[in-house]
Symmetry: C2
Subunit: 137 residues, 2 copies
Amino acid sequence: MDATRRTARRSTRQQRLVFEAVSTTRSHPTAEWVYEAVRRELPRVSLGTIYRNLQRLVEEGRLRSFERAGLTRYDADLELHDHFSCVRCGLLMDIPRAPEVLPAERRLRARGFAVEGRTLEFHGLCRKCRRGASSNG
Amino acid sequence: MDATRRTARRSTRQQRLVFEAVSTTRSHPTAEWVYEAVRRELPRVSLGTIYRNLQRLVEEGRLRSFERAGLTRYDADLELHDHFSCVRCGLLMDIPRAPEVLPAERRLRARGFAVEGRTLEFHGLCRKCRRGASSNG
DNA sequence: ATCAATAATAGGAATCCTTACTGATATGGA
DNA sequence: TCCATATCAGTAAGGATTCCTATTATTGAT
């Protein structure tokens, strides 16, 4: 349509929509969720394309992925952060990461391991569920 | 066969062998691994039985489970510990957990969350892979 | 704009892990 | 022994993800 763009390097509409879907939510979406989102713009998109592009975006470092309850979830927030998950309602919340070095990491380094990163997730009851917890058991 | 045991509470040979398989290794085994191990003693055991008993043992609190690379892994070490995983060779190592309270946990509590536990995993290069890393890229 | 080369796509089949189902078997108590 | 109940082996079914192939889109050069 627009022949003036000479430098466009192999970025398809599908790829752009996949990235946009993940990066405009904070819900740590699954592939299925992304599929539904992209489908609203591009009804003929296939699930395989969603998976392939999610994979590629992770490899390129533009997304991160992690597993949870048997599903792979994706996250466009590359700022380092930890998680809190509520065991009752399933809320999965980001926690900004302070620049502290954990004692366990110091110990690993002292033993000769090259620590490159970490994943840290707390679980328990969120504020809302905590209020209902004492009365409902 | 042996009517003298009156108090045996519904513990089958299969269940015992499943627990034994997990509790005598440090390898965080998968269901498949446990299946192979139990099969050496009980060749006719079925994979469904392995899954069912692993699930039950987790519910009873005798085992823990977690996901990794699309597989569920089991662990009989109920002592709290964190993990280190080597991104090169796949080593998954336990790290004993010191009784420190992490700053992030303190912050969560201060905000009204009831923190019940955590999972913490570091990743990087183990000692062995680190030595090979500089020369092999 | 047209052409050839290359890469990505849609659609669906295949795969892998896990769970669910079913008839058979073992266990514990009366 | 006889009954009630739970677990089992075997297998079918399920769900998430990957793989395959013909088709379509994109790129660079003419």
